[in-house]
């Protein structure tokens, strides 16, 4: 089944839409899905032209396509556990948080809190992601626990904060403090970043660009050659964060 949601023109397009109901499994059984526009409750039909093509018997056969002016739609794919969501443009905050399986593909940019505390599945963002991409919510000790997050562009500050499982791959640059409080999983940064991995206790972080202001609480552990994505790199190894009795590995391209 393919569900196409095209946004209707809105009088005030800056008012955010809260759409946690937009997940593949809901299109199998629900036909009265509600979303909030600001503080007003609306039906899906009020805000989108909905086209449904073909049948489906299980949620993993459902593909949801969002097109139009999608940059203000929040919480799409929250708690999703199967199927696929394709966003043709930008997407708003909290996309794919707590998702456990399935796939989200974003052709544009993603706003903050992309895939926060996700447990599994895959998110691909072809543009840039904003702050707190693949991080944890406030107060929680474990952030993203599994799955794959891939961002082709840049990511903002606090990328993969509290990462405890799964893979986060940022092809571009990261902002300040990526991988802070990391305790597991893998974080790959293709470009530059600043102050990586403060307070990390476990996991692996690889930085292929320049890492600025590396914290003094990382102990140098020599260097080694490493193969990654078909290429060979010389990496400097660090262990830490010793301020937190950490046993994480930080690799920075020599």
């Amino acid at each position: 089944m393919r569900v196409i949601l095209k946004t209707r023109p809105r009088e005030k397009p800056r008012i955010p839409i809260e759409a946690e109901e937009i997940i593949p499994q809901n299109f199998l059984r629900k036909n009265d899905m509600k979303v909030f526009e600001g503080n007003k409750e609306r039906t899906l039909e009020d805000l989108f032209f909905v086209t449904i093509e073909g049948p489906a018997v299980s949620p993993d056969q459902v593909e949801v396509v969002l097109t139009g002016n999608t940059g203000m739609i929040k919480r799409v794919g929250e708690y999703m556990n199967a199927g696929r969501i394709i966003i043709e443009g930008d997407i708003g905050m909290h996309c794919g948080n707590f998702m456990s399986a399935g796939e989200i593909i974003i052709r544009g940019n993603a706003d903050a809190w992309l895939g926060r505390e996700m447990r599994g599945g895959r998110i691909l963002c072809e543009g840039n992601a904003s702050h707190y991409c693949a991080a944890g919510y406030r107060g929680e000790k474990r952030g993203m626990r599994g799955g794959i997050m891939e961002v082709k562009g840049n990511a903002g500050d606090f990328t993969a904060e509290y990462l405890s499982g799964g893979d986060v791959i940022i092809h571009g640059n990261c902002g300040d403090l990526p991988g802070v409080e990391m305790r597991g999983g893998t974080l790959v940064i293709g470009g530059e970043c600043a102050r990586p991995c403060g307070n990390m206790t476990g996991g692996t972080c690889m930085v292929f660009g320049k890492a600025q202001r590396v914290l003094p609480t990382f102990r140098s552990n020599g260097s080694q050659d490493m193969d990654y994505a078909g290429k060979r790199y010389r990496m400097n190894l660090f262990r830490g964060d010793v301020a937190n009795r950490g046993k994480g590995t930080l690799m920075i391209r020599a």
Partner: protein
């Protein structure tokens, strides 16, 4: 108000000697009366279990440290969210819910009175403000005296009367209810980076021992004729091998009061550990229960832990530091000027952790091994052992051996080598549960004098009707039903009004705060004592005249007056 007539109620009212009779209860003007008025609203209880309103004699629901638990646990606020509905406010939180969350959840479980376990006198205003926002329960506040400089100076001079005078002034200034000692001496030592390791260790600078503080305060409490006894959180909480300290403390207690205990030991589960390290921790509940059985002047509460996530909070600062060193989670610690301290850290009690399984067993063992249910009250030291919403599960565990055996399969299999729980066959009955959840609390707190904890004419009309028919269900088999029944009353009636029905709160609450004032002769009035006033001038950050809590903080205060025998 037309009043209420409850028909066909299966009543258990231990304080009036009713052990399960089908009878009617008439309510008028907020009191239980002999005859209902003719226009009374009739509630058909259909032979359902009807008990006096529940009383929690040790719970942390209001005050600065609870609120700090809320600040530092935004993840806790994600759980237990309910939307606004009728008269109910929005609530959120699981182990440290909003005040309304606490109040509604207690109310739907049939609780109508709560004692806040620890109020720092300096921070009493905050506690009283949260009391007014906990609208469905009458509130009482235990006031902390464990590290009070004036008290320790009086203890050093062996001047019981002066200690009593300090207590009398402070209680009436901060509108407190009773004396709470939390790790006496230890919190003060923590101000110097230390702790006390036995009741005979000296507190730095003051040169007094916990044993002297406890002994003096028990006597001072009786000199003031306060309704409740000293409420003690023993030294060495949560330290393997601490049962020795607990036994020594129980050995100190003189029998000074005919009507109630002379010492209330709280969350004794945390104080009944054998062994010497976390690796060989074992249950010493048998020794502690035996000591309590042989010492009728002592009452304890369980402090049961239940598996899951919660937040620990106590005035015992050094203990919270030790917990932080174990868990390396976020934590906070706080020193309250000349009085006490506190600490908070979130914890997770897991079924896979042998230590946690042993702790879980000890609490249940204490309740099952205490011969007299009036001496062992049900509590989780909410939220330290578990949030209070777990009470129904604890009741079911105590009433059903089969349930305990089922749980045994889920926990660490090594547990049985360290605890006697699974050899205990006792199953508590409805009467004993009624004692452990309301009657014994009312007696221990000494609030039967204001009509709490019983259903005879003249009592406050606090009634809980549970959807349980004791003559039809067998709690040892239908424990699921017991659990469901105790978590949602059919009716909770508070001061003659139905406040909750079938799990939903139906009216805006109007609670009262109960506090005590001990009237002392002018010679013992501390407000004009030069030494005492000097403390405010030299050390406190507040002036003495700004220290007392104004009446405006207690919109519906209920004062219990006592005459001190000084």
């Amino acid at each position: 108000m037309p009043g209420i007539l409850i028909r066909n109620a299966f009543v258990i009212d231990p304080l009036s000697g009713v052990k399960g009779e089908v009878m009617d209860i008439a309510i008028r003007d907020g009191k239980i009366v002999e005859e209902a008025s003719t226009d009374a609203v009739v509630i058909d209880a259909a032979r359902c279990l009807t008990l006096p309103g529940g009383i929690d004699s040790h719970s942390h629901v209001c005050g600065t440290k609870v609120n700090f638990g809320r600040y530092m646990s935004p993840e806790d606020m994600r759980a237990g969210r309910t939307a606004r509905k009728g008269v109910m406010h929005v609530t959120s939180g699981y182990s440290v819910p909003t005040t309304f969350g606490n109040s509604y959840r207690y109310s739907t479980m049939g609780y109508t009175t709560i004692l806040e376990g620890a109020m720092a006198p300096l921070e009493a205003r905050h506690t009283h403000e949260e009391f007014t926002a906990t609208p469905h329960q009458d509130m009482l506040a235990n006031t902390l005296f464990d590290g009070n400089w004036s008290i320790m100076e009086a203890v050093k001079e062996k001047d019981v009367k002066r200690a009593a005078a300090v207590v009398a002034w402070t209680l009436s200034a901060v509108k407190g209810f009773a004396i709470k000692l939390t790790n006496p001496g230890g919190t003060e030592a923590w101000g110097w980076g230390g702790d006390v390791n036995s009741i005979h260790d000296q507190v730095p600078h003051f040169g007094v021992t916990p044993a002297e503080i406890i002994g003096t305060m028990i006597q001072a409490n009786e000199l003031l004729n306060l309704p409740h006894s000293v409420h003690l959180h023993c030294n060495n909480l949560g330290v393997p091998g601490n049962y020795q300290t607990t036994l020594e403390t129980i050995g100190l207690v003189p029998d000074l009061n005919r009507d109630r205990q002379s010492l209330y030991l709280t969350h004794v589960q945390f104080h009944s550990y054998g062994g010497s390290t976390w690796r060989d921790i074992c249950s010493k509940s048998e020794d502690v229960a035996r000591a309590v059985n042989n010492t009728p002047q002592v009452v304890m509460d369980m402090g049961q832990i239940m598996f899951g996530r919660t937040t620990t909070m106590t005035a015992d600062g050094p203990m919270e530091f030790k917990l932080y060193m174990l868990h390396h989670n976020k934590w906070s610690n706080h020193d309250v000027e000349l009085e006490t301290g506190s600490g908070i850290t979130p914890v997770y009690y897991g079924r896979k952790s042998l230590v946690n399984c042993v702790m879980w067993s000890i609490g249940l063992e204490l309740a099952l091994l205490a011969k007299n249910p009036w001496q062992c009250l049900l509590s989780t030291d909410n939220p330290n052992g578990a949030p209070f919403v777990k009470y129904p599960e604890i009741i079911a565990l105590l009433m059903s051996r089969r349930f305990r055996e089922n749980e045994r399969k889920m926990i660490d299999p090594r547990t049985e080598h360290f605890v006697p729980l699974f050899a205990i066959e006792r199953e508590l009955d409805w009467y004993e549960i009624a004692v452990m959840t309301r009657a014994a609390q009312a007696k221990a707190l000494g609030i039967t004098r204001i009509g709490k904890g019983y259903l005879a004419p003249g009592a406050e009309a606090d009634v809980a009707i549970f959807p349980l028919k004791p003559d039809e269900i067998d709690p040892s088999v239908d424990y699921q039903q017991v659990m469901a029944g105790f978590s949602r009353t059919r009716y909770t009636i508070k001061r003659g009004r139905v406040v909750a029905r079938d799990g939903e709160v139906v009216v805006e609450g109007a609670n009262s705060t109960i506090w005590t004032r001990a009237n002392v002769p002018p010679a013992y009035d501390m407000s004009s004592d030069p030494e005492f006033t000097k403390k405010f001038e030299q050390y406190y950050t507040v002036r003495m005249r700004n220290y007392p809590v104004q009446d405006i903080y207690l919109p519906r205060g209920v004062r219990i007056d006592t005459e001190a025998s000084l």
